[in-house]
């Protein structure tokens, strides 16, 4: 279908929805893909349910999910035109233990891709949505969770990706839609909040700015906005020709869909650009991320116009700047958070947004993560959910506007090269279980891993650091026999990120085991006893990319300690410590955030 036909069908839809016909009772929608065909049904107000159906979603084993629905509801785009938006409503199996009614959270997803199959509602059904971990965490809190697809995933439409107000409308209108599902038990008057990261962070911040006017009926208690693209020209410049270049291309396509007259992409795109756009529209995040990495916008434009030239075209510059956040205050408490190593969205412009809100005496809490974009998305979840819990409990938030802490500065890897996730002194929650002694030895808390996971060339190289320590072995009361671990050489592994967001790490590291002290607990004596060759610890892991940020990467296995050499007690310690069957577990934990 041509772009012209798509736009024509979208206009027809808009016209149909605009007809002022009285609201009808919610109806069950069809099964299969027919659900995404917009019916000729008119509604009376934003958020009215067009139709719904019971949904089967795959959030993984153990998810606190009681029931799920798909919904299609009326909303409006950034220009105020009515549209139809799809989404998912998730009811938790967890009891709400807080005060008052069960809260409702609108979870605003980040970039998913422009193809209809990338829609969150479809990926949640397929179990492939990369944000499942955060959604699960919200359900475990006992919140009802609403996940809008945003505008553009109905059949024949194209998402208006990064059109801020359109996204915010969709994230707000789903509250009313969910409340209209018969017997779902979602109260429109319940305390509500919006949480999102990246594109979702943009959405959440927009919600904070417009909710009072657009959805005054909601009891909105706060918005949590992470990895927020607040200053579009700055973000566009950061992305252009960089690892996150695909998001810029996607943004141009999405905003052109919202503002076709002002961003005439058909006229601006070269043949190469048109081919790229057509291809881009068929792919989801972890496909186009790599396929369009490090590309400059000029490679897609007629006459190789670069970003600056495009932004100087008044209609384009105006529409791009209209997506900027700030310039007006937030009506509710805002949590902003960002990773200093964010290679897609620069942290400085997020700090500027905070300052903008602070100048308007808004209540802004600001958390700084020492991580890159994708890691921060998942690492932040526990902290964000705690912040939301506090809002639902009616507590006053910490206001970072009065913080004396220095503003965070980016330490992201330079753009334009390989996509590298740097682990800078990440904690390693590590333990060994000694076979013969049947004893678990925990390595010190400040055991760390420093590594570069190069997703582009599929390598991971780094170092393990174990501080001087000894763990007391339980052999005799009052006797201290101290065991320690001494890394040898580098960590070497391959690392692969599949196109459905599954991370695979395969490698190993080596370490010697030492009996370094022995004696009474009050008088440990240095004792140099060491394995004659280092033990090999296989580091194999496969799981969702979200595990990186959520501390879910755990390397487990069984290794063998060689014999030790330690003088007169060699035979004894060999008998107690050396041999096979030594279990280990290394959990990689990102460094903690800092709240300004």
């Amino acid at each position: 279908m041509s772009d012209f036909k798509l736009k024509a069908s979208a206009l027809a839809l808009s016209a149909a929805l605009m007809a002022p016909v009285a609201a009808q009772a919610a109806v069950e929608g069809p099964s299969g893909m027919d659900f995404y065909d917009v019916p000729s049904i008119n509604t009376t107000q934003n958020g009215d349910l067009i139709w719904y159906r019971n949904a089967t979603v795959n959030l993984g084993a153990g998810a606190a999910l009681a029931k799920a629905y798909n919904v299609m509801y009326r909303s409006t785009d950034s220009l105020g035109a009515q549209n139809a938006v799809t989404g998912t409503v998730l009811l938790p199996s967890t009891d709400w233990t807080g005060a008052g009614d069960r809260p409702t959270l609108s979870y605003a997803v980040g970039t998913h891709g422009l193809d209809q199959s990338c829609a969150p509602s479809m990926q949640l059904q397929a179990g492939t949505d990369y944000e499942i971990r955060n959604i699960r965490a919200a359900l475990e809190k006992g919140y009802a969770v609403l996940v809008t697809d945003y505008q553009g995933y109905t059949t024949g439409a194209t998402p208006t990706y990064l059109a801020g107000e359109s996204q915010a409308h969709a994230a707000l209108d789903i509250f009313r839609a969910a409340s209209q599902i018969p017997h779902a038990g979602i109260d429109l008057n319940a305390p509500s909040a919006v949480w999102g990261f990246s594109q979702g962070g943009q959405t959440a911040a927009w919600v904070g700015q417009i909710a009072d006017e657009y959805a005054p009926h909601l009891d909105l208690v706060g918005v949590a906005s992470g990895g927020t693209p607040a200053d579009f020209p700055v973000v566009a410049d950061y992305l252009n020709g960089s690892t996150g270049a695909s998001f810029l291309l996607g943004g141009i396509i999405g905003l052109a869909e919202q503002y076709p007259a002002d961003i005439p992409v058909d006229q601006l795109a070269s043949a190469n650009g048109k081919a790229a756009i057509a291809d881009y529209k068929t792919k989801c995040t972890f496909e186009f991320l790599f396929d369009y990495m490090n590309e400059s916008l000029s490679s897609y434009t007629v006459g190789n116009k670069d970003l600056d030239e495009l932004l100087q075209i008044p209609s384009i510059g105006q529409r791009i700047n209209e997506q900027n956040l700030g310039g007006e205050g937030a009506d509710v408490p805002v949590l902003l958070y960002h990773g200093t190593a964010d290679e897609f969205i620069p942290i400085e412009q997020s700090v500027e947004l905070k300052k903008d809100y602070c100048r308007r005496f808004d209540k802004v809490t600001y958390d700084v993560y020492p991580s890159e974009h994708i890691v921060t998305l998942f690492q932040a979840a526990p902290t964000v959910l705690t912040w939301l819990d506090e809002r639902f409990a009616g507590q006053d938030p910490r206001n970072s506007c009065y913080s004396l802490s220095a503003n965070p500065v980016s330490n992201a890897n330079p753009g334009g090269g390989d996509f590298i996730v740097t682990l800078d002194e990440w904690n390693l929650d590590a333990e060994l279980h000694l076979a013969t002694l049947d004893q678990t030895v925990e390595l010190p808390e400040d055991t760390t891993i420093t590594a570069d996971a190069n997703i582009t060339d599929e390598s991971l190289v780094g170092d393990l650091y174990v501080p001087d320590f000894y763990a007391k072995l339980k052999i005799l009361i009052n006797l201290t026999v101290g065991l320690s671990v001494e890394p040898v050489g580098q960590i070497e592994a391959t690392t692969q990120l599949s196109r459905d967001g599954i991370l695979a790490i395969n490698g190993s590291t080596q370490a010697n085991v030492l009996i370094n002290t022995a004696g009474f607990s009050w008088l440990p004596i240095p004792f140099n006893c060491k394995t004659i060759e280092p033990a090999t610890f296989d580091l194999n892991y496969q799981g969702p990319i979200s595990d990186f940020g959520a501390g879910g990467i755990v390397f487990e296995g069984v290794t063998e300690f060689s014999e030790l050499e330690c003088g007169w007690m060699t035979a004894l310690f060999n008998s107690l410590v050396a041999g096979p069957g030594q279990q280990y577990s290394f959990r990689v934990v990102p460094p903690a955030p800092e709240r300004l």
């Binding site: 005799l476 009361i477 008998s575």
Partner: protein
């Protein structure tokens, strides 16, 4: 420089060990010391020491006990099989080591079986220690044979993996055989005893 330091540390460790108490504080375990060893092929220690007795001994006495146990291990090294049962402290196990092995095995769900495994393992490890330290070629060859004889049992008891066992076999054989053909032949024979097909490149890598 190195030897006196090592000796000094060992004194401290032995003193510390004997100054401690059995972790489980089980009287039965202490009483085991001095009882006879039922395996008639192994010399039986007749001395009986409690932890309290050991803790008041001089460091020199304790070190001498370690030396005596190691000497007993050398005497025992011509015997090619593991012990089949243990009811008391074999002479190649020092009183301090005996306390520790009992303490550790008592934490196992099958303490008697575990004690037997540990006794056989320390016996093997003492042979290994003796072989590593021996400088006399003739003695070293005899100790090499003594080590090799007990490696299959280490694999069966899961005291070491087949890979480690094969690597050790090759290391021990390399120390006493200069002829590459003979080395390859013996390595193949020893590997077969632990159920491994010998590959020369593999073993030498």
């Amino acid at each position: 420089m190195f030897k006196p330091l090592t000796l000094g540390l060992s004194v401290a460790v032995v003193a510390a060990i004997t100054g401690g108490y059995l972790f489980t504080q089980s009287d039965d375990l202490v009483k085991v010391a001095g009882q006879g060893v039922t395996d008639n092929s192994v010399a039986i220690a007749t001395e009986s020491y409690s932890a309290e007795q050991l803790s008041v001994m001089s460091p020199d006495t304790l070190i001498d006990m370690q030396k005596d146990a190691l000497a007993a291990a050398r005497e025992d090294s011509s015997r090619e099989t593991d012990l089949t049962s243990v009811n008391g402290r074999p002479e190649f196990v020092s009183p301090a080591e005996w306390l520790i092995l009992n303490s550790v095995s008592a934490q196992n769900e099958n303490p008697d079986t575990e004690l037997l495994r540990l006794v056989n393992l320390i016996r093997f490890n003492k042979r290994l220690e003796l072989w590593q330290k021996e400088t006399d070629p003739q003695q070293r060859e005899a100790l090499a044979d003594a080590v090799l004889s007990l490696i299959p049992a280490r694999v069966v008891n899961q005291d070491m993996s087949k890979e480690k066992a094969q690597s050790l076999q090759y290391r021990v054989l390399s120390s006493v055989l200069n002829d590459p053909a003979e080395l390859r032949k013996r390595a193949g024979e020893e590997a077969a005893r632990i159920g491994v097909q010998f590959g020369f490149d593999q073993a030498s890598s």
